[in-house]
Symmetry: C3
Subunit: 138 residues, 3 copies
């Protein structure tokens, strides 16, 4: 039986549906006792700005207006934002969140511009050095 | 030589180009003797409704009208829908397809609403528990 | 300590933001001494045509005009196209690039139509046979 390896999640997309899928996968892995490393790049990094993290980030183009309304209703019913799911994952397991240093430059961001849930800023080589298990790009 | 680990495919997108890519990867892995677990979420789950699985689910926004026409022509030439490719993968190998319990709630779906190819409904933690190899998000 | 396994990157999307993210991940993995196998499918394969590889391939729909302008500015500031990043990754490490045989058929392409950086054409089963580590779909 293989032991549970670290799950490395590269968050690239900043739409609420993909961020929610990422949070759910992180929570599921944490519940199974896996270490989870999130690496925030591009539009996902932009979505973690502290003044905007719970704002509407839209959904994938393929959702259409009907799909967007459906997800909004599901979130209202459950009362859970993906940020809450991610915070629960961090409460139950070993879940770290780092911003990609290069994307920080692209978006001209400093760590204090991001939600306090973000643990730090790291380079892609350092991220890869810890990515001994699956690497999932969302 | 590392042995072939289970390939865990998270199907998130419900456009025909990404579903086709997923089916091709699943078939390739099955051909190499790998176990494949598909986990259907969000728009991919919606695409597996039994009354709609072979309907037109569109393609990625980036394809444009020209790309969409090209893929339609390729499918007509080969005579193969991605559903056929997935069925072949299941015929030659150990390929399971499960729907994400949380997405089933979001879309207010029951198992009998889905194509019979879907084996069951499972939670994300159970999916993660079996995901000892690569986890690929499409 | 787990040893660094081969990173298998499936490039599906052909927008410049995702191709740039892929090049950065490949370069980071190569810098850490990992072998990297890129497999070009669909819109990513189309982006590697030798007459178009450095042309504007657009960005993800979610970027919006503001995001597109920001990335263009970042690229001009750094002076680095994602093609340059990928060439550097190949210079420092063991990075192979293969085109998916099935996508080559779809797009009616021959190897000589592609940028010389592409090493060859391969089937998905052969790609899967070498994918003993993480399989990341971008």
């Amino acid at each position: 039986m293989a032991e549970a390896e670290t799950l490395s999640l590269v968050l690239f997309s900043g739409t609420d549906d993909r961020l929610e899928a990422a949070a759910v996968l992180a929570a599921g892995a944490a519940a199974m006792g896996r270490k989870v490393n999130l690496f925030l790049q591009y539009w996902a990094l932009d979505a973690f700005r502290k003044d905007a993290i719970r704002k509407d980030h839209g959904v994938s183009a393929e959702a259409g207006p009907e799909g967007a309304a459906l997800l909004r209703k599901a979130r209202e019913t459950s009362g859970q934002h993906w940020v809450d799911v991610l915070e629960q994952a961090r409460a139950i397991g070993d879940v770290s969140i780092n911003a990609c240093a290069l994307s920080m430059q692209h978006f001209e961001l400093a760590l204090e511009d991001l939600d306090p849930m973000v643990d730090g800023v790291t380079g892609v080589a350092a991220f890869m050095g810890e990515a001994t298990g699956p690497i999932t790009f969302i």
